[in-house]
């Protein structure tokens, strides 16, 4: 039992959970508006779209990958789905086509990374512009409103007072965490991120799985796009702008690294929750909105510094200097 507690306490999730709890308690005392159903739901609804993307991004970053194009993919699927709906296509088909566009874009990203061997950052950075550009081309820069009522049934109803985007996000997070943490299939992504060559020699289908992780990321971005479009009842060409950085920030706060091999969906969710919480707190406390971006940066830096210090202490290791110090020759 004691060992179990010690292990939980060492987890990155626990550290963020404690911070989330501290912020929550502090805010409950400092603002009467904080712990109200209305505020909490608004907070969760605000981060639900990004939370959906966080699930797949965690999986991708655990495998050592990286996707800068999620915000643009979201806008692209949103625009295409809305276009098809306005053409009178049945909701089911329009949604399915939108989702498959997300998956196909993921496949393209994955193909270039896993098969062609391009750098993930560069590949998906081009995607960031490509799909935002396509969105602008097909919409002519116009927002697309006037979507059918039956489509809005995805993102607008409430169950027990809770909006569906929150429910969808929570279900995906719980499912995603369970699978990535425990299932044999998804555990393989940790091995790929930990040491790709060794994973290959361990009989893991590295290329195929890497492609799949991009497909999932594209697909989840598309799911987020559909949910968001339905919620707003319109497709916006600027939807998801800058989202990739907020999502990646949350995943790193949650314990993942750019090298891969670590991270969890729960941690990433707590990461995005913490960011949302801090912004909500700043709002309620009447701090200027201009501070928000600054605080996100500070949170990320604090999280990785604490993590690094913890690791250094664990290892008790000394890092050799890369260059031997020597007297400068003066000429």
């Amino acid at each position: 039992m004691k060992e179990w507690i010690a292990r939980v306490a060492r987890q990155r999730e626990f550290m963020i959970f404690v911070i989330v709890a501290v912020v929550t308690v502090a805010m409950t005392f400092s603002s009467p508006h904080f712990l109200t159903t209305g505020n909490i739901l608004a907070l969760l609804l605000g981060l639900s779209i990004e939370a959906i993307v966080v699930v797949a991004m965690t999986n991708l970053m655990v495998s050592g990958g990286f996707d800068m194009s999620v915000g643009s993919v979201l806008a692209f699927t949103s625009a295409t789905t809305a276009t098809f709906l306005r053409m009178g296509m049945p909701v089911v088909f329009a949604v399915l086509i939108g989702l498959s566009f997300g998956a196909i874009i993921g496949l393209i990203n994955g193909f270039f990374v896993a098969k062609v061997g391009l750098n993930p950052f560069v590949t998906t950075l081009s995607g960031l512009s490509l799909y935002r550009g396509l969105t602008l081309i097909i919409t002519g820069g116009q927002n697309l409103a006037g979507l059918p009522r039956s489509f809005r049934a995805i993102g607008q109803p409430r169950f027990f007072g809770v909006q569906t985007p929150i429910i969808i996000a929570l279900v995906l997070i719980i499912l995603g965490d369970l699978l990535l943490r425990n299932s044999r299939f998804f555990r393989q992504f940790y091995y790929i991120g930990g040491n790709e060559k060794a994973a290959r020699l361990s009989g893991i289908r590295v290329d195929r799985l890497k492609m799949l992780s991009y497909v999932l990321t594209g697909f989840f971005a598309a799911v987020a796009g559909v949910v968001m479009t339905s919620r707003l009842g319109a497709a916006s060409v600027t939807a998801g702008t800058g989202m990739e950085l907020r999502v990646i920030t949350a995943v790193i706060i949650g314990g993942a690294s750019l090298q891969g091999g670590e991270g969890s969906v729960l941690g990433s969710f707590l990461g995005i929750l913490l960011m949302g919480l801090i912004l909500n707190a700043l709002n309620l406390l009447g701090v200027s909105v201009y501070w928000q971006t600054f605080v996100v940066g500070a949170t990320l830096l604090t999280a990785v510094v604490i993590d690094r210090l913890g690791k250094l202490k664990n290892e008790g290791q000394l890092v050799l200097p890369r260059f031997r110090f020597a007297r400068k020759t003066t000429e």
């Binding site: 940790y190 060794a198 893991i204 008790g316 020759t329 000429e331």
Partner: protein, 509 residues
């Protein structure tokens, strides 16, 4: 002139929980090569790092030319004439030889810009020392052979005009010819420049080839020192390990029988890597695959495992065709491959022992569910730790905190875990202590005893001779001979492996 160019007295260094150096003395005579040997964790590296002032000792005195000195930083150590050549190459591949040699201290002109002319002239002068003045100082380091990169590394250490050069496992990435060249270079520096060397090594054979005297460390203590001419290899092993190892390479019990043919490769080829390679492995047999570095042994091993393609030829298991195109096919048919480079290709260093032990057979731990069952993993991992004597705090300990020998035992455990019928082990004891080595040999023999066929690829001739039931020798991608383990001698195997090949010079670039 004092007797000793460098003397360390009563060096003590503790890390949390470990006494890495315990009252260690070391004496280095002027112009000698002094070997420092011991198992991993014996304190060799710590001693080296304290002499180089990268670690600060808790107590102890360092004397240079008989005068006590205080070394506060690596800079001080360099100024006092101590320079270290690190094991891991610390060169910048995309910069030139000259820029690497004078890294951080390039000559500058009066405008504060690099004085390239002088830089190149100085570097050429230094290259002459190794008769490598055919190399252009502006050659990029990444275009050099490993042995010439090592020379650049040594030159970099030499550029501070040291009296004492400390070499840390300098031969770990060199081929036999390159080792030969390194030894020539060491002797030359010793004679022409009067430089004294501390030579840290795992390979005891090297000690006898290059060193004049030796100090043995064990568990942070100095066990003994001696003149090399007065001792033999058994003396060193006994002192390093602290017990006598009788049968280093494991024993074949009289009841160990070699069965029928298990595996056969017929005329497998791939381009220039290997051509028409045919050999068989019987049940319970350990076949040693020997040859010089570059003979194609690893390529054959990886090709059988499906990690690299085969262009033509067939594989057979139990007389039936064996189709392997990817590593996962091989594992499904219970063929395993233990990679030669455990750090970059074999293990997940940031992961726990148990995560590593199950990596190549995850499906054994799921029962009939999609989920990995922690209890099964723990049970298996604890059994492995016990059976293979993996020294660790718990199965949750990360692999990077284990010694090389224990890491290797984890890798062995992972591959024994697939219940192999054929296991290919590539350099199974590279960078492993003498003690752990003999344990790994015993494990391999034990596995063979259960009817498994083993192909052991190795550059260590003593290991090949000691362990193999049969030795297959390769040269330039072809099999050039087979010899029964009982009849094999060092000379016979070398004669086959080297054939009509002549040694390369140092200036092949």
């Amino acid at each position: 002139m004092a007797d000793y160019i460098l003397e360390a007295r009563g060096m003590v260094k503790t890390f949390p929980g470990v006494r890495a150096l315990d009252e260690v003395d070391l004496q280095l005579k002027t112009g000698e090569v002094h070997a420092l040997v011991g198992e991993n964790g014996a304190g060799k590296s710590t001693l080296m790092l304290t002499l180089g002032a990268i670690h600060k000792p808790d107590s102890g005195t360092i004397l240079i030319d008989g005068r006590p000195v205080s070394l506060a930083s690596p800079h001080d150590a360099n100024a006092q004439g101590i320079s270290i050549v690190f094991q891991e190459l610390s060169l910048v591949p995309s910069l030139s030889i000259a820029e690497n040699v004078f890294a951080n201290r390039q000559p500058i002109n009066r405008f504060g810009m690099l004085d390239r002319k002088k830089l190149h002239r100085d570097t050429s002068d230094m290259l002459k020392l190794f008769e490598l003045d055919c190399l252009d100082p502006s050659t990029l380091v990444k275009d050099l052979s490993i042995s010439n990169q090592q020379v650049v590394e040594i030159l970099k250490a030499m550029s501070v005009n040291p009296k004492v050069l400390i070499l840390d496992e300098p031969t770990s990435s060199l081929t036999e010819t390159e080792v030969e060249q390194l030894f020539v270079n060491i002797k030359r520096l010793k004679q022409q420049r009067g430089i004294s060397f501390i030579y840290i090594s795992h390979h005891l054979a090297e000690v006898f080839r290059i060193a004049d005297s030796v100090t043995v460390l064990r568990d942070g203590k100095k066990v003994c020192d001696a003149e090399v001419k007065d001792i033999d290899e058994d003396f060193l092993i006994t002192n390093m390990v602290g017990r006598k190892i009788d049968n280093m390479y494991g024993v074949r019990a009289p009841t160990d029988a070699i069965g029928d043919v298990l595996f056969e490769a017929r005329n497998i080829s791939r381009g220039d890597d290997f051509k028409n390679v045919s050999f068989s492995v019987h049940r319970g047999e350990i076949v040693g695959l020997s040859g010089l570095v570059g003979a194609g042994r690893t390529e054959v091993g990886r090709a059988i495992f499906g990690a690299e393609p085969i262009e033509s030829g067939e594989l057979y298991m139990d007389g039936k065709p064996l189709s392997i195109r990817k590593p996962q096919d091989a594992i499904a048919r219970r063929v395993g491959y233990l990679s030669e480079d455990r750090k970059s290709q074999g293990l997940f260093l940031n992961f726990s022992i148990k995560a590593n032990l199950i990596a190549n057979h995850l499906s054994d731990f799921t029962g009939n569910t999609p989920f990995i069952q922690e209890s099964k993993v723990n049970e298996f991992s604890r059994a492995c730790v016990k059976d293979y004597r993996i020294v660790s705090r718990s199965v949750d300990q990360e692999l990077k905190f284990l010694s090389g020998g224990n890491q290797q035992k984890v890798l062995v455990g992972a591959w024994f875990g697939i219940n192999p019928r054929l296991l290919i082990v590539d350099e199974p004891t590279r960078g492993v202590d003498v003690g752990a080595k003999s344990e790994i040999y015993a494990l391999l023999r034990n596995l063979a005893r259960q009817g498994v066929g083993i192909i052991m690829i190795s550059s260590d001739l003593m290991e090949i001779l000691g362990v193999s039931d049969r030795i297959v020798v390769m040269q330039s991608g072809r099999i050039v001979g087979q010899i029964d383990g009982k009849d094999a001698t060092e000379e016979k195997v070398i004669a086959m492996a080297a054939g009509s090949l002549s040694a390369d010079g140092g200036c092949e670039e």
